[in-house]
């Protein structure tokens, strides 16, 4: 169905678009180098994962793909911390962090497009759905980029906060995959905000992409989220102080 294709593309592309827009505001003066550093590892990782997807998914008792994705999400967070801590590595490591997210999103989308079960999606559904998904994702990224540029001009230090939220979101995704693979104990559910703000609503969807919003988070997820957010925020604050 058309709507499923749109939602699939948005779910995969929106977090990547938001992270890329945030990083481009940071590296605006060297955006060409950033694009180069981002493009090469992205395409390399995407090709490797896509070509070896069957083999990867069969590893570790059939949990290979989930664990690889967890590793890539975690790598994304670690690379973001590194880019904030080491000024000389900032460009390279932040481009690699975005590349990690791209390889996950890209391989998931390729899997969705080439999956044998796609028979229920007509080619028109697929083309139109992907165009709508890419269009909405790219538009939000452009507007996000200009919003952050504007905030920067008004001397509002939003960058550290937004990058920390984005980094913590990747850890949230890691924890969700690890819990799903029984590699992490979920612990008790802390709260239930499905009625207040559904993950399926437009705002819930956006917040999920931006900061990993979860309507029913478990204890371990919340602890990890708070810890990672604090660490990355501290790293970003250190970076801004050095400036």
């Amino acid at each position: 169905m058309l709507i499923n294709t749109v939602l699939m593309f948005l779910r995969e592309l929106l977090p990547l678009c938001l992270l890329l827009a945030t990083l481009l505001v940071w590296h605006r003066s060297v955006w060409r180098s950033f694009a180069l550093y981002f493009a090469f590892p992205s395409l390399l990782m995407l090709s490797l994962i896509s070509l070896q997807m069957v083999w990867i998914s069969e590893q570790l008792d059939g949990l290979g793909l989930e664990l690889l994705y967890s590793f890539l999400y975690l790598s994304c967070f670690v690379l973001l911390c590194l880019s904030a801590l080491k000024a000389q590595w900032a460009l390279l490591s932040s481009a690699f962090a975005a590349a990690c997210l791209f390889s996950i999103s890209g391989s998931n989308l390729l899997l969705y497009i080439w999956l044998p079960g796609q028979a229920e999606n007509t080619p028109a559904d697929l083309v139109l759905g992907s165009a709508l998904g890419v269009g909405i994702g790219a538009s939000i990224a452009v507007l996000w980029y200009y919003l952050l540029t504007e905030l920067k001009q008004w001397r509002i230090q939003s960058f550290a906060l937004l990058l920390s939220l984005s980094g913590a979101r990747q850890v949230m995704m890691t924890s969700a995959l690890l819990i799903q693979s029984d590699w992490l104990v979920a612990g008790p559910q802390l709260w239930q905000t499905e009625q207040l703000l559904s993950e399926q609503s437009e705002l819930g969807f956006f917040l999920q992409a931006l900061m990993g919003y979860e309507a029913t988070p478990s204890l371990s997820q919340v602890l990890l989220y708070v810890l990672c957010f604090t660490v990355l925020f501290w790293c970003c604050s250190l970076m801004e102080k050095k400036r």
Partner: protein
């Protein structure tokens, strides 16, 4: 440096894409919901029609009318269907019965069996309307949002031009400092640079002009003073030696030097009072007292010409102004009145206030100026009748130009008119209090 064009194009395309796509998705969702309801309704109608066939006498209201004819006999009809055939034409057609307009479909699969199904047109239109309205609704709702966002984006993009324009319009006449702008877009950058270069060139030109006139006047002052002293000495020597000057060459030479000296003084004063250069030191002062001082200064000259001068009106008139410039203004007006009035003439100064204005009126009973000359006498070096002014009075043609500059400097007004005497000129100066 950001390009306005790139910013507007990317942001507007992003906005249009986002809003249109979200509206399209909402429209898709709404239509899917309506279509689902429509299909459910069809299922309900079909189920009801079939159940009715087995429940004799049931008159349940259905959306559809149904007739089954076999060998020309009506073997089944639903509650809404009439006893006569709903349509004689094969396929789709429209007919009236049971007080409604119906869309009818007739099918004859075999020669013996005919099935006729009808649906009220109103119901069909209602369903079609619901589906169409559901798809249009998100698009229409998104329009005000689009308009608001376009307004915000365009206002934001054009704000540097607005700030540039505001800075230019708030500039004073003598402010030639460069315009400073933050976040200058690429399209405005060259305009800003060119404007600032123009200001810099203008400032240089004014400075050169100011220095040139002032320097020339200053440099001429010393040799002229020497010339005046030597002329005076030569004249004395001629008198002692008994040399006669029947053609009056010495007197003409003295008058020429005196005129040149007055001209140089006036040029220097003009430079000092030019609004483009002059930095007024405004202070609270008494215009009446200032007029009295000027009259006292000019009194020997006035007395020599046996003229009458009187100061009428307010004894104190307090206003904010530059004392030096205003004294020069009154002095030039009184001087002109005295110079151009005949021996035994009358001069009148009158001070009054009019709402927020102080008014000084200086009039005489001299020959006056023709009304068509009023606008020209404020031009620099312009003298009524040219150098051969009929009064024979030495003048530079700068006195009234200086007066006008001083009035402009004080944001006042000056006007000329016929004197209240039988002849002469009346000068009215209005200055803000």
């Amino acid at each position: 440096m950001r390009s306005l064009r790139r910013y507007l194009v990317t942001v507007l395309i992003a906005l249009f894409t986002l809003i249109s796509f979200v509206a399209a998705l909402q429209s898709y969702k709404q239509r899917a919901i309506r279509a689902e309801a429509l299909f459910d309704q069809d299922l309900q109608v079909l189920a009801s029609s079939l159940s009715q066939q087995y429940q004799a006498g049931s008159q349940q209201e259905l959306g559809l009318a149904l007739q089954v004819w076999q060998k020309g006999e009506l073997v089944y009809r639903s509650a809404l269907a009439p006893e006569t055939s709903m349509s004689e034409a094969e396929g789709f057609s429209e007919h009236n019965f049971a007080g409604k307009r119906w869309r009818v479909f007739r099918q004859t699969p075999t020669d013996l069996l005919t099935v006729i199904v009808a649906q009220p047109l109103k119901q069909r239109q209602q369903l079609a309307d619901e589906v169409i309205t559901a798809s249009i609704y998100p698009v229409v709702l998104s329009l005000p949002l689009q308009a608001l966002l376009i307004w915000l984006v365009v206002s934001k993009a054009l704000s540097p031009i607005k700030r540039f324009s505001a800075q230019l319009s708030s500039k004073k006449a003598n402010d030639l400092s460069p315009v400073e702008l933050d976040q200058v877009p690429a399209e405005l950058d060259q305009m800003l640079k060119t404007t600032n270069q123009l200001f810099a060139r203008l400032a240089d030109a004014f400075e050169r002009e100011k220095r040139f006139a002032s320097d020339v006047a200053h440099e001429l002052r010393t040799p002229l003073s020497v010339l005046q002293v030597n002329l005076h000495n030569a004249s004395q020597q001629w008198q002692h030696s008994g040399i006669s000057d029947p053609e009056g060459s010495m007197l003409a030479l003295q008058a020429g030097v005196e005129r040149m000296s007055a001209l140089i003084e006036q040029i220097m004063l003009l430079n000092r009072t030019n609004p483009e250069h002059f930095q007024a030191r405004t202070e609270q002062l008494d215009l009446a007292g200032l007029c009295r001082q000027v009259v006292a200064d000019w009194y020997p000259h006035i007395d020599k010409k046996q003229q009458q001068i009187e100061l009428l009106g307010l004894e104190h008139l307090s206003l904010k102004g530059d004392a030096f410039a205003l004294r020069l203004l009154v002095s030039n007006l009184v001087g002109n009145a005295s110079k151009y009035s005949a021996v035994g003439g009358s001069i009148q100064l009158e001070l009054s206030t009019n709402q927020q204005q102080a008014m000084l009126v200086v009039q005489d009973n001299g020959p006056g100026i023709a009304p068509e000359e009023y606008s020209r006498v404020f031009d620099r070096f312009y003298r009524v009748g040219g150098d051969r002014h009929q009064s024979g009075t030495i003048g530079s043609g700068l006195g009234l130009a200086i007066v006008r500059d001083i009035v402009v400097l004080h944001q006042g007004r000056i006007s000329l008119g016929a004197s209240d005497f039988s002849s002469g000129l009346k000068v009215t100066v209005e200055l803000p209090l």
